[in-house]
């Protein structure tokens, strides 16, 4: 290269009538053929077996189709890219397989709940209670109204206890920033691992067996609160951390006390996040059954007094109707599962909407 070359801008602009392309997406015809064969051959074999053999369908898909598809993909990968890409083919097919497996499980659960649960739904089912109803009573009489009331009561009590404590724990970690922060955080994490049955046992042994409380909505609410607190605290902590420091220093600079800054500036700024934390806490406990079996027992009547009597909730209503020899009782269980799942889905959607709103800002 001896001469210096100068490019004229105008000339360059004029010459380039190029269109953006993605040449790495172009495939040779060999590649295309091999890929199509690797998909079609296993699919064809399995379709034949699906229609013309006695092999149970799930067995066919998992123990014949999956291995067949892996082998076909490995052969295809070797043919196109060489032996080095054989493992990649296995990983890709297995990863897609694992994804489909998880989706099938999720869809199967949701599908069962919806189709079976719908059979139970009626005004009577949603609003009546279980008094004078036995497992053999036909559908159309009795319902889970008392359990809905029970769930609202118990979850409400636990939220009244756990949300303030959880938020205050988060405030300690992000705002007060005392010396014990790492320990508090560690204890909250450890608390999130307390099995729900142990939370129930704890309330049972400290408050019920000692005679301080009946098995009641309040006792169950305390057990739920143990499970709810770590979820609220951890979510609230994440949310408070997102509040910009300028807000705090700004308010402090105006002569506010720390307490006022936290209560009037930081917490309101993180309001939607706090609501999210509360909802996540509720969603965490709303389906818990084991603590209720120990601390709330069951009751076929509608109970409104949180201290007086044992009380049923949605999870215990499901629990009582599972494995009954009466089909209508089982349908009731599915109906209660649908009701509970709708509740969970509403909470789930609310948190998504709230966090979308937060991110939108």
């Amino acid at each position: 290269m001896s001469a210096t070359i100068i490019f004229d801008d105008a000339l360059v602009a004029d010459l380039s009538q190029q269109q953006p392309q993605t040449p790495w997406g172009r495939r040779t015809s060999k590649f295309r053929t091999v890929v199509i064969l690797a998909i079609l051959i296993p699919a064809a074999i399995v379709t034949m077996l699906w229609w013309f053999s006695e092999i149970p369908k799930p067995v066919l898909m998992v123990s014949i189709y999956l291995p067949l598809q892996i082998v076909a993909s490995v052969l295809a990968a070797i043919a196109v890219r060489g032996t080095k890409s054989a493992i990649d083919a296995v990983i890709i097919v297995s990863a897609i397989g694992a994804t489909i497996f998880s989706l099938v499980v999720l869809i199967s659960v949701l599908w069962s709940i919806v189709t079976k649960g719908m059979q139970a739904l009626s005004a009577a089912f949603l609003f009546q209670n279980n008094e004078y109803i036995s497992p053999s009573t036909p559908l159309g009489y009795g319902g889970l109204g008392h359990a809905v009331v029970g769930t609202i009561l118990i979850v409400g009590i636990s939220a009244l206890i756990a949300v303030p404590l959880g938020v205050m724990t988060a405030i300690y970690i992000t705002e007060v920033r005392g010396r014990a922060v790492p320990y508090v955080r560690f204890f909250v994490q450890a608390m999130s691992g307390v099995p729900s049955v142990v939370a129930g046992l704890f309330i049972l042994t400290t408050l019920i067996l000692t005679g301080a409380l009946n098995q009641s909505a309040f006792a169950a609410g305390l057990a739920y609160a143990i499970l709810m607190l770590p979820t609220v605290a951890r979510t609230a902590e994440e949310v408070l951390k997102l509040v910009p420091d300028e807000l705090r220093t700004g308010a402090l600079a105006l002569g506010s006390t720390r307490a006022r800054v936290v209560l009037k500036v930081v917490v309101p700024a993180a309001k939607t996040g706090m609501i999210t934390a509360a909802i996540l806490g509720v969603a965490r406990v709303v389906g818990e059954t084991a603590p209720l079996l120990l601390t709330a027992l069951k009751n076929d009547k509608t109970v409104l007094n949180p201290f007086s009597d044992p009380i049923s909730a949605l999870p215990t209503y499901i629990f009582d109707n599972v494995a009954q020899p009466y089909p209508d009782a089982v349908i009731r269980a599915w109906g209660a599962a649908l009701t509970l799942m709708v509740l969970v889905a509403i909470l789930f959607t609310l948190t998504r909407m709230l966090s979308a709103k937060r991110l939108g800002k």
Partner: protein, 319 residues
Amino acid sequence: MSSTETEFRDLQSAATSHRGDRVFNRIITAAAFTALIVLAGITIFLGFQAVPVLQTQGIDFLTTSIWDPPNYGIWGMLYGSLLLSIIALVIAVPTSLLLSVFMVFLAPNSVAKVLTNLVDLMAAIPSVILGLWAFYVLSPVSEQWQALLNQYLGWIPIFQNSSGNFSGTPFTAGFILAIMMIPIVTSVTREVLGRTPPELINAAEALGCSMWTMLRYVALPYGRGGLVGGVMLGLGRALGETIAVFFVLKIVFDPVNYYNIIESGGGSVATLIVSKFGEASGPYETQLLLAAGFFLFMGTLLVNVVANLIVNRTGRLKS
């Protein structure tokens, strides 16, 4: 009395005095120790119940497997919880890893976002509903599978079944635990794999890596701590799970089912507590269940603490 009121009013009116701040700090600090108080309370009160049980039953309470007055031992339940967790891990860990590989490295962004939401939804399904599903939908399918496993792989000891009864097996119970673990483990592994620094992925790509070698030599070693921690968090959940297992596992004390995972009968401490609580004949049996709860709590606490230490050491993960 009156001074507290004054301080309270100070806080309300947010006077510039620091007294309000001191009270505020004290209230918040007290609240922050709820977690410690509860943990200590559980340890002390359940431990308090475990002492007389150990005094009357001796170490046999932990090493024998019997539930026959006046002799009680929960070894079979302790071992059973472990066996179920191992089955759950064997199914859930590869599935979760592959699922997160799909979401992080294979799927387009939009698909990955939808999958993330679906996995979160899966985590939100209450365990009692999964138990219901396991009893009516999974169990029949699972029995079919186990019969086939026994028919073709029966020569492997773990797939032996002499009774011909494939219901209430550790396999089915472990499977439903796996389904509960998958969303928990996946949400951690997905985040860990997603945090592989782009410059390392770039370096690996520039050295002609394949997907497998990139995972094997770069992404997995980089996220090792987080991955192990995520798996252990899932394990902690599996050990403490009660209701889903209750519906699909037949509780058997003697003989202890050590490895015949498709043979009817097994154990789980958490499920034992719920299943025996209703029929507890007196304060002593309730005390036995409280003692069992104490050892369950100690086990899950240990797993969780170790899991969190590992996860924290490798960088904080958002919940």
